[in-house]
Every structure is written in C-alpha cells, then in structure tokens.
Amino acid sequence: MELHKVSDNVWEIPKQGDMRVPAVIYASEKLLQSVRRDLTLTQARNVACLPGIQRMSYVMPDAHQGYGFPIGGVAAFDMDEGVISPGGVGYDINCGVRLLRTGFTAEEISAKRKELLAEILKEVPAGVGKGGITKLSRGVLLDILSRGAEWAVEHGYGRKEDLLMTEEYGRMKDADPAHVSARAIERGIPQLGTLGAGNHFLEIQKVSHIYDREKAGVFGIEAEGQITVMIHCGSRGLGHQVASDYIEIMENACGIKGLPDRELVNAPVRSKLGQQYYASMCSAVNYAFANRQMIAHWVRDVFARVMGTSQGMRQIYDVCHNVAKIERHMIGGREQEVCIHRKGATRSFGPGRPEIPALYRPHGQPVLIPGSMGTASYLLAGTAEAEELSFSSTAHGAGRVMSRHEALRRFRGEQIRDDLRKMGIELQSTNWKGVAEEASEAYKDVDEVVRVSHEVGLGGMVARLVPVGVMKG
C-alpha cells in the first residue's frame, strides 16, 4: 500500500478512492514492519471511508490487525453526520488497566512475594468457565451496569477516593441496561469480579526507572524500587455479548452493502439504534469498572493480611482502552463534540482538560500501558500535543506479532515460569498453555512502542515498571 513518510515515526496513507480523510500511522521503521505484515493498514484505510469521520483515521504505535477497525485504531465522528460502530470499540468493551501505588519497597516484599501471589490467586477468580465468588441477582447486575465502580465502593469494595482516580469517575452516566440483552446479562452474572484469561493479568511490579520526577511524584511514584500493582482486564462475557448483539442488530437494520468489511457495520451516532448501542456499551463499561474495583479491593485485602497494612495503596488511575465516548475536540480551529472510538488505544488528555482529576489536571492524565507477560509496563502522562496528533490518544500495550498457535509450538508455560524465576519474577497461573501463548516473544517490544509514543508526543514517559510477581488467568 502507498505510504508516505511524513517524518520520523509518522506515516500517511493519502486520501484515495472512497477515503474521506487520510490515515496516519505512528510507528518506527521497526514497528512498521510488523504492521505491514497483516491487514492493519487496509483496516485503517477502511475506517477512513466511514461517514462523518473527522481529520484522520489514526493508527497507534502498537497497532495490529483487528476486526473492522485495527487494534490501535482511533477515529472521531461528527455527531450529526457520523456513525458509531461496535467494531470500533471491540468485543472486550472497557478492557482497561488499573494501577495502584503502594508504600512498600521491593526489598520489603521480597520474602513475602510468593505468599502474596498465592493469596491473590486464591482471592481473585481467574481462567475460563470459572464463576466469580458472588452470587448476583439480575436486579443487582442491572444496578451495576447503571452505576459501575460507584456500586462496588458502596458495597464495600475499595475506597471512595478510588472513584476520583478512575476514568469517567468509574461510571459512564449514559448507561442504560434496558438495552442490554438477556443473554449478555446471563453471561455477566457469574463473571463479575473475575480476571478472565488470554492477555489479562494482575502484576505486582516495582518501579525500575523514573523519567519525569515531578509528574511521577504527583501520580504517587516517589522512588525506584517502589512497589505498584497493575490489573488488566475488561467486561468479560457481558461486553463480548453486547458487541456481538449490536453487530448483528445493526447488520439486520442497516445492512452491510457497500461496507468494505462486515465488522465496520455502524449506525448514525444520533439514531435510535446508535444511541441504544451507546447506552449498552456504557453499561458494559460500567461492568468492567466495577470488576476492576472489586479485584483491586481483594488485592488490598491480601496486602493487608500478608504485609500488615494496605494503607499506602492509593489508586493512581484506571483507564479504558476499548471504548467510544462523546468528547470535545478542536476541529478546524473550532471546539466540537465528536463520537470518538478508541479500540486498543488509551485516552491521553493533556494538562487542563476538565475530565482529569483535579490533582493531575496541571500535569496531564496518567496513561497506563501494560507490557506483555514478564516485560516492562509504563506510566505515561497525557500531552497537550496529543490533541492535535491523535484526538488525545496513544498506545495501549505491546501488540501481538506472533500467533498463539506459533507461540504454543515454540514455548512451554512451565519453562517460561522457570526462566522468569531466574530473572526474579514469580509467575502463577491456572493454565500453563495460556502462559505459553502469552510468551513475551509473541509481542512487540513495549519499550519501542512507548519510545515512539514519547517521541511523537502522544504520551510522555513518566516511569517504567517491571514485574516481580505475575498472575495470569
């Protein structure tokens, strides 16, 4: 495909054919090589053909092939002329990341690391086909879909101040569970408070490097060696079902004629169907917020029991990386409301945005980028430039480069566990095959992804976190 180099790390697919806007790809030469190997660029071009798309179809540094939209795709649509698409959000609605700081140092937890991990594994249900510990009624689940993490805090999971440090304060107000199918609810009831499987994980990490001491300090990171906890999971079967339901409903209502890809099926943002999907998606977002809120609470409980206290365990932030939102952005010199889709991309609001918690507002929001199993994760800060570059968005992780099949052929879960142990990383899992599939060699180099984000100005590096204990679903 025709690709123009704009500058280091910036590439453009010029407007051609049915494209309404150009597509821009943020990637180093090295990252671009893997992007070119699959359908990422074709998918970015397809997104550029959708009605009402504003400015550009954006591709983040960790992008890879998705369904309809690429993973790592960002697109904003005009509220009147534009569309909303379940394929632009993804199946795992509000898959996201939560980061807790702690007052512990790596030395302090060193002797208790195994115990911490074993206890977390007991407290936090993980894996496939395993229910949560809570028996919920349908009524309670509907309440959770409406109120998200607020519900969880009210019911004793975590602290009120956690809500302040969560994107959307832990609750998307436009949620309306009336538009969520019975099947989605049935899938959601047994799974609340579970981590799931695949690339989802829970890590005990230590700060290995601080790049920006001022911002790090504001976010709660004071020194190298400080322990943090990262939780990466989403809305489980409930979100997957909402996505599948609305792909089908939109297809049956609007048809797929003229669409370059069936999973680009969409509805006008303000149409009845568009609004119903949005209200359902917000409900799934809230489920995921509640999910991470409960898991964080159990992790604190374990630390309190094993380490004697969980007092310093303040939540740094919680971000969504599969979501559509109504946000205000600058378009043609004018501030305008748009429906922005971030599919495998993290919001990266710079200083001053009213959506950011007051404490962080002068500095930009914390951006949480999880690495692959056993590699580094990053804490970044949103930038002012990201508004112009990507509607305030950046990468969401490392991004796969090797199929699970291939990873299974090459690696063994138990061997990975032993190798990680030699590196000082303890790994617990209920599923060693799943561990092999998630081998870090199957992913792009997260250091490279974050470097590009930093150099381009999508999100600035604040601290690097490395695992000392990993729990895989």
Partner: protein, 142 residues
C-alpha cells in the same frame, strides 16, 4: 476411516480455523468442535446432558456466528462444556436460515482442564465455500 474435521491456520492475534464436512451441517458441527478445542479437549467431556440449540441468520455467515456463539453463551451462563454438536438441521425460508441442533456435553466446567478462552466469534476472514463438500473458515477473538 478418519477424515480431517478441522485445521488451524496462522493468525497474528487470534485463532483461525477451517472446518470441513460433506454437508453444511457436518461442517458446522466440525466448526463447533474446532472452537471448543481452543478451550478444552471435546473428546474428554462426558456426554451427560443434551441442550437443544436454535439459531437464525439472514445468511449462512450470520447463522454460523450465532451457532458458534451458543458455545460461549452456554459456557459462561451454565458452565457447559461441549463434547459434540449433533442432529444439526439447517433450513431456509424467506427471512433467511434457521438451525436446530443438540449440544452434548457436561455442565460442570470445574471438573475439566480448560486451557484457553474465546471472547467472540467474528466475521473477519469468514468464508463458507461449497466445493463438493463444504469448508467453513472462522476467526475467533481470543
């Protein structure tokens, strides 16, 4: 004689398979086995209960997405693990296709080893090919 029922192919982020059958029904049944095998070994699951399944689609692709989606729905809402999909019949009327089937398996997921998860069945690279028999190709989000 054992014929190949399904085969997996390379896909960067997800799982892609083809399933084969002399009839469309057989290809669907084998697609169900392929998908189940991403999560557990269907051959080890006791055939304790049969759950009747029905699905509709305005075309065969949508029918296949709905049909395979039943495996995920039954796993997550009833902890049901599929051993095999049987007695599949697919009919066509004015509004599209309708499928009836019986899922045999065990509704006790804790009793088995589960080695992977599937999030959703997608339309990505989906193909249903008539070639003497039938080949269906599916990519699932894992």
């Amino acid at each position: 004689m054992t014929e190949e029922r399904f085969r997996f192919f390379e896909h960067t982020a997800d799982a892609k398979f083809q399933a084969y059958g002399r009839t469309i029904e057989e290809a669907f049944a084998n697609a169900a086995l392929a998908m189940a095998s991403l999560m557990w070994d269907p051959g080890t699951i006791a055939r304790k209960i049969q759950i009747p399944v029905s699905a509709r689609g305005h075309d065969l692709e949508q029918l296949l997405v709905r049909f395979l989606g039943e495996i995920l729905y039954l796993l997550e809402s009833r902890f049901f693990l599929l051993a095999s999909a049987e007695e599949i019949s697919i009919g066509k009327d004015d509004s599209g296709y309708a499928l009836e089937a019986g899922f045999w398996g065990d509704s006790n997921s804790n009793a088995y080893e589960i080695h992977g998860g599937v999030k959703a069945v997608t339309y990505n690279e989906m193909e249903i090919i008539k070639n003497g028999g039938y080949t269906v190709q599916v990519v699932v989000d894992v």
